[in-house]
């Protein structure tokens, strides 16, 4: 496939910005994006499809009289389409309403340097390599236990590039790679079917282990068989990274975004310098994390990404900002403007939300627990109250821990409470950190969570 080169992407951006200014925009910004994804899909237990998606385009922000217009197109070969896109952006800005507190697009700063975000081997691999990875995963799951059926999953490799140019002199290009493989399995015995048990690897370098993924997904499914109902009571809960990611994505991560704070939607509004979590909790938003899934040189507005302390030893230190929310309160952006390719305007978003791990291995953590729950995934976390942090979710699959051992899986158990309350009840962090979505975290033990069973 013909790939646009760095100079070509920057060239498209520069031309667009110049033309927008010529057409009457006071400020302009062009974001040029290119994504090439090859994947292999597993459906109903077999490799069913291979595909390649080439998606590229240009998004323009034009500012006229402090009002913002945005327009995008994927028709980069057509000069007419690009010109129309630019004109639309200016016209939409003219039709829109001015910001009271717009202080301009960002200006040029030196970009950060990042490590472990690009691997030639991922760019060069083809669908046969991914077919092999997917097949290894399937075989590995199937030979683990005959009660296991692999259901869905696949392997995917992406090469992503982005270029940004604005009328304040920002000009940047970055590219990176991502590879992942994942498998969901269920186990069946008699009339019992387990919930889907999912495992995966995601890396910036060609460093995935499909055999482990298959084996682990199968092991989880088998260990979810013979689930019993749990009782209603307040109990200690170990959240794995999957469950934690689901719980925090809609609550804590939003609460530290400057736009939520400024709009009165965050319970952390007046809490800078105050205790918001137990003393063992330290969290960074680390846009420069080595090999981080969301590590890039610059954010969606061309501002260098950085490492921002959010919570240190339980005390809230900072919020995360984009250019607009930062300038509005006289601060500098923390490099947290995120974009969904070329089709969206920037939004405040966490980069790698990194909860610093503790010292105990997961085995040691469980070893010290008496009556507790180990919760792998949650169902319904997206229905949490994003403003208050109140949640009411199903823990599935989940296991009962008794006397330092994983005793048996449980079913039909709900967990209810408040995420921000739960943060203050974190009593242990394991040392097994891993990357899931935006989250980089270990297993976390939370005391006194309300479990609702029979």
């Amino acid at each position: 496939m013909v790939v646009l080169k760095q100079e070509e992407m920057l060239g498209i951006g520069e031309k667009a910005v110049n033309l927008a200014i010529k057409r009457g925009a006071e400020e302009a910004e062009a974001f040029v994006y290119q994504g090439l994804t090859t994947d292999v899909i597993i459906r109903q237990g077999q490799i069913a499809r291979s595909s390649r998606i080439v998606d590229r385009g240009l998004g323009i922000r034009a500012i006229v009289n402090k009002a913002i217009g945005f327009s995008y197109t994927n028709m980069l070969d057509s000069q007419a389409a690009i010109e129309e896109t630019i004109l639309k952006a200016s016209n939409f800005a003219k039709a829109s309403k001015p910001y009271k507190d717009w202080f301009g697009l960002p200006t040029q700063k030196t970009f950060s340097s990042v490590k472990g975000t690009y691997d030639d081997r991922i760019v060069e691999l083809d669908s046969e390599d991914l077919v092999n990875s997917a097949f290894t995963m399937l075989e590995s799951a199937e030979k683990t236990d005959e009660r296991v059926s692999p259901i869905e999953g696949g392997a995917e490799a992406s090469y992503l590039c982005k270029a940004i140019v604005n009328s304040n002199g920002i000009e940047g290009f970055d590219h990176g790679t991502i590879i992942e493989c994942g498998l969901g399995t269920i186990a069946k015995e008699g009339n019992e079917v387990t919930p889907i048990c999912f495992e995966f690897n995601i890396e910036r370098k060609y460093d995935i282990d499909p055999e482990w993924v298959g084996k682990e997904a199968a092991r989880l499914a088998v260990s979810a068989l013979n689930a019993k109902r749990a009782e209603t009571k307040n109990i200690n809960v170990v959240f794995t990274q999957f469950a934690l990611q689901q719980l925090l994505y809609y609550t804590l991560i939003n609460a530290v975004k400057a736009d939520y704070v400024q709009r009165g939607q965050s319970t952390f509004k007046d809490k800078i310098g105050k205790r918001v979590a137990s003393q063992i909790v330290t969290i960074y938003d680390d846009g420069l994390l080595n090999s981080g899934i969301r590590t890039w040189k610059f954010d969606g507005e061309g501002i260098p990404q950085q490492k921002t302390p959010i919570i240190e030893k339980g005390i809230l230190h900072n919020f995360i900002y984009d250019n607009y929310t930062a300038k509005k309160v006289g601060k500098a952006s923390s490099g947290n403007a995120s974009r969904a390719g070329y089709i969206s305007t920037p939004n405040v978003e966490a980069t790698n939300f990194h909860i610093t791990p503790g010292n105990k291995s997961p085995e040691e953590l469980i070893d010290e627990l008496n009556e507790s729950l180990l919760v792998y995934y949650l169902q319904g976390a997206h229905s949490s109250n994003p403003a208050s942090g109140e949640f009411s979710v199903v823990a599935t699959p989940a296991w009962k821990i008794e006397k330092g051992e994983i005793a048996h899986p449980i079913k039909g158990t709900m967990l209810a409470g408040n995420v921000f309350q739960a943060l203050t009840n974190i009593s242990e962090l394991a040392n097994n950190e891993r990357k899931i979505g935006q989250l980089v975290a270990p297993w976390v033990l939370v005391k006194n969570v309300k479990a609702i069973g029979k």
Partner: protein, 460 residues
Amino acid sequence: MKDILSKTIDVAQKFGAEYAEIRVQKLFRTMLTLKEEQVEAAKQGIENGAALRVLVNGAWGFASVGTLDIETLTKNVTDACKMAKAASSKLKKPIRLVETETREDKVSMTPKKDPAKIPIEDKINTTSTMSNTILNYDKRIKSCTIDYLDLTGTTYFMNNEGTYIEQDKLYVWSRLLATAMEADVFTFSREEIGSTAGYEVFDVETPEIVSERTAKRAVEQLKAKQAKGGTFPAVLGPNVVGVFVHEAFGHLAEADLTLSGSVLLNNLGRKIASEIVTFYDDGLIEGAIGSFKYDDEGVPTEKTALVKNGVVVGLMHNRETAQKFNAKPTGNARAENFRFEPIIRMRNTFIQPKDHSFEELIEDVKFGYYLKSFRGGQANLDGTFQVGVQEAYEIVKGEVREPVRNASISGNTLGTLLKVDAVGKDFELWPGRCGKGQAAFVCDGGSHIRVKEVLVGGSA
């Protein structure tokens, strides 16, 4: 257009495809986001693209590109064939498709108010009215976010069997979010509006009506108490019933997920719900946001019965699963756009109304919950479901009493459907979006129902 499509299909056949299809889209989008009274950015986009899908030696190859010249399409369809061959090397059971009638058709939309022709200024006025209405409703309202989207365009579909369809697309959608605060209580409320009819959707669901509904809920929830955790009788409103039918049952009846081992696989033709329960997934409801004429495999949509009088009578199919089940394809294959392959998606899914008035549903409940409006829902193949509720009330001695916040219900679909002991005579459909790796507009709804007992997750 037809000529380019047909040349591309020829190339696929030359490279060994037993089946080949091409779907070209030309799409226009307008989007607005308002945060409080501020228009964040007025946004629009044009995108063209092609999705090429081939079946070679029983495996799928798929390619998506944003360029429509014949050289690019030829190169990509060739690559799709190669990829399919690579995937087929490890195939256990070759994929085949059920036969369908071939057809040529052109589907035009005739909106009273074509969103593509409404000036951006009008759309800014409509959404600004929404945000002003919400913000001025009560001083305890702290924020509101209004999203607006309209999408218009045309899809061109051709396959190697002789089907060629040109179909217009039209969606108008808006979402309103409001938060309120008093002392240390935060509440949150959401509404969605959506239609495939046209911009006239705002003539019925006017900005004022929808905004008031959103704001009122956020404010009333401030005085709500926490739900008790435990098992209780519950009356579910059409909005909650809809998401329950969609999440707890609907996904299990998407034939790809049924084949993946959903609990329905062993229950086809069996009674899984009480006799008063009948479910449909219907793509023919005029103007509903889940409606269309042909799906993205060129199969006409229909009204599909899923459960009749408690018995599982059908599943939702694409051509691949219909072949496996020896069934008719139901027109449920949908792709979000040219970046995606079509997969089995719901359309407008609902429970068929019966005979109870609302008063009759609640009169015998000594203590339980009236769950009126949902916040979100999710289900697993084993039938475990969760539906989060944004508006609920206690029912005490047959009367709707105090509001309750942050409740949710859970259980196993099969057990819960057997506990449905009354179905109302009213009918409402609510627009929404469903995520299954790609987004789709759907409607869910039906009538009020009563469930003898369900697990309520609350922290009180």
